[in-house]
């Protein structure tokens, strides 16, 4: 098990290095430099600017500098927001994004599995069909549709909740709901199918024939296996959730990581884009690692596979 985790960790570090390298070379190769303003700068000033950001050195030197810097945890100065380092911007944005992201993820996990299990336990009844239909409907409403609609209804129309800002917990209600809705639907579908399959497993039939109460049957035998597909989708779901948070932060004007990423992409702020991509990639890799470990805990077959094949 430890060996498995170490292997995965090494794999994650290599992936991270690949992401950094890809981002570095892609963005250096991109047309348009960070100082291409409307006004052409005098050549002397431009030269000084380039020198102060080490952009005048050969590419391999720049690359090596960058890798060493990132390795030491320093993401460099922002190219466009001159008074800030990328680290400062990320430190400001990350808690907001994590706050919305984690609460949306937990909300989706909780409600999704709850609704999915409820539907599966009343398979082929009206309730099942209703909930399944609702889940299908939910998948057609990605955050970019549902977020502005929520603002329109609950902030502009009913004036129950604020439309933007990040000063009180109330400001986080709508963003969290907007972000979690499609994933509630996705988790509900997965856990419904997982549950239906678990109900057909031999050990569940055995437990039932021995007269186990319904509650214990569901909680001890059905849910753990039903949760496996949900868990395996958690990694991709978290990645998609982080992407969705860009839209949600845009709509609710939350100054989170996603906004910095989009700003950086629009302004060609090289260091900011690379820094945020790096943080995102690290987050996603860490989550995938966590999911893999939990997977082994939940499914004994996978655990033994980890020990035997070591990968």
């Amino acid at each position: 098990m430890t060996r498995f985790i170490f292997r995965r960790l090494a794999f994650a570090l290599v992936t991270l290095w690949l992401v950094v390298s890809a981002a570095f070379f892609l963005i250096r190769a991109a047309p348009g430099g960070p100082f291409d303003g409307e006004r052409r700068l005098p050549p002397a000033i431009e030269k000084n600017l380039l020198a102060s950001y080490h952009l005048d050195q050969p590419l391999p030197v720049q690359y090596w500098r960058y890798i060493r810097m990132v390795g030491g945890g320093d993401l460099g100065p922002s190219f466009k927001q001159k008074d800030f380092t990328v680290n400062e911007l990320i430190r400001a944005g990350l808690p907001i994004s994590l706050g919305v992201g984690i609460s949306a993820f937990l909300l989706a996990l909780l409600f999704g599995t709850l609704l999915g299990t409820l539907a599966a336990l009343s398979h082929n009844t009206f309730r099942d069909r209703f909930l399944s239909g609702l889940a299908t409907l939910g998948l057609a409403f990605p955050p970019l549709i549902i977020a502005p609609v929520l603002v329109l209804v609950f902030a502009v129309g009913l004036a129950w909740l604020p439309a933007g800002g990040h000063t009180s917990p109330r400001h986080y209600v709508l963003p969290t709901i907007a972000l979690s809705l499609p994933y509630i639907a996705a988790f509900a579908r997965l856990s419904r199918v997982g549950c239906l399959e678990a109900l057909r497993l031999p050990h569940v039939t055995t437990a039932r024939s021995k007269g186990l109460s319904n509650r214990r049957l569901v909680f001890q035998h059905v849910l753990p296996s039903a949760f496996v597909p949900v868990l395996s989708y958690s990694g991709p779901a978290a990645a998609a959730l982080l992407a969705g948070s860009m839209v949600v932060e845009e709509v609710f004007s939350l100054p989170g990581l996603g906004r910095y990423f989009v700003q950086g992409a629009i302004n060609r702020d090289y260091t900011l884009v690379m820094g945020t991509v790096l943080v995102y990639a690290a987050l996603i890799l860490a989550l995938n690692l966590l999911v893999d470990v939990l997977y082994g805990r939940l499914d004994p077959r996978v655990r033994s596979e980890m020990v035997v094949s070591n990968d």
């Binding site: 992936t15 992401v19 890809a22 981002a23 892609l26 963005i27 190769a29 991109a30 047309p31 299908t136 409907l137 998948l139 057609a140 409403f141 990605p142 970019l144 549709i145 977020a147 502005p148 609609v149 603002v151 329109l152 502009v156 439309a163 996705a186 579908r189 997965l190 199918v193 239906l196 399959e197 597909p229 989708y233 990694g235 991709p236 990645a239 998609a240 982080l242 992407a243 860009m246 839209v247 845009e250 709509v251 990423f261 989009v262 992409a265 629009i266 060609r268 884009v273 991509v277 995102y280 990639a281 996603i284 890799l285 995938n288």
Partner: protein, 277 residues
């Protein structure tokens, strides 16, 4: 092999496909019937709610929203279709080669697919868009280039089935070279299921395009797409019709495509009812 005739007979699938065709026809032919042009400004009605003159109302520059929504839908659907073709062009040979070669080659190729599954794709697409510039052609290539993974898996699975057929064995015995067998015998036989399965990637691709355009990194004014229209509508909530119409069109399209995809999956694999997303 999968019996496509049966899956195409499924009522839900058929209805959804008919809906999509009707929508596409409306999007492509509708503007011809409207007196307003895509970029025509009606100075007498700026920011006006739906009326007999402008059925969906007008936007902040006085352009007819019905015509804009249709133009946006055309762009969204076209990009989705082209991106799907790109993903097809990568996924089909990838899966066919991996499946046919087998052994080490197969393992390495499928490991690459597994590894790519873990990457945050939206970020890669945005990086590619930053890299290549904001250009609709490169937008769909970038989206297509990151959404071929599922297809490669399906094609590989189908290839494994086809590979053991008698006619392949006969071709091998006759000394037909491998590349020839793959292009002439394997690919045509996995084409059907692969094409049908490719329709499953369309809703994801539509979401990706709207997402990028919504953030201002995709389609640019005066061109438009559903993502651009929704982004505009989201900032002009005093005129809610500017949000509601494009949002409804996008949501209904996604819903119909998802339903078609569910039916298709059920038909192809009755064992797991709507497992994957």
């Amino acid at each position: 092999m999968i019996d496509l005739r049966w899956s195409l007979m499924r009522r839900g699938y058929r209805t959804s496909i008919v809906c999509i065709f009707l929508l596409a026809i409306a999007l492509f032919l509708g503007p011809w019937l409207s007196p307003w042009g895509e970029e025509h400004i009606d100075w007498n009605s700026i920011d006006t709610p739906p009326s007999l003159n402008h059925w969906f109302g007008t936007d902040g520059s006085g352009r007819d929203l019905l015509v804009r929504t249709m133009a946006g839908g055309r762009v969204s659907l076209t990009i989705a279709l082209l991106a799907t073709l790109v993903s097809f062009a990568i996924g089909l040979p990838w899966g066919a080669i991996a499946g046919y070669a087998g052994g080490r080659v197969d393992q390495v190729m499928m490991r690459i697919v597994d590894g790519l599954y873990g990457l945050p794709f939206m970020f890669l697409v945005i990086l590619l868009v930053v890299f290549f510039g904001r250009n609709p052609y490169l937008l769909f290539i970038a989206i297509g280039a990151v959404s071929w993974l599922d297809l490669a898996r399906i094609v590989r699975g189908q290839t494994l089935v086809v590979k053991n057929a008698m006619y392949i064995e006969a071709a091998k015995a006759l000394g037909v070279p491998d590349p020839w067998i793959v292009t002439r015998h394997v690919v045509p036989n996995v084409m059907g299921p692969a094409l049908v399965y490719a329709t499953l990637t369309i809703p994801g691709v539509i979401i990706a395009e709207s997402f990028i355009s919504f953030l201002g990194l995709g389609i640019q004014e005066p061109q438009t797409s559903w993502g651009v229209l929704i982004a505009d509508g989201a900032t002009r909530l005093h005129a809610p019709w500017q949000l509601i119409f494009p949002a409804t069109f996008l949501a209904v399209t996604l819903l119909v495509l998802n339903v078609a995809g569910d039916q298709l999956r059920d038909a192809m694999d009755p064992q797991e009812k709507g497992v994957r997303l």
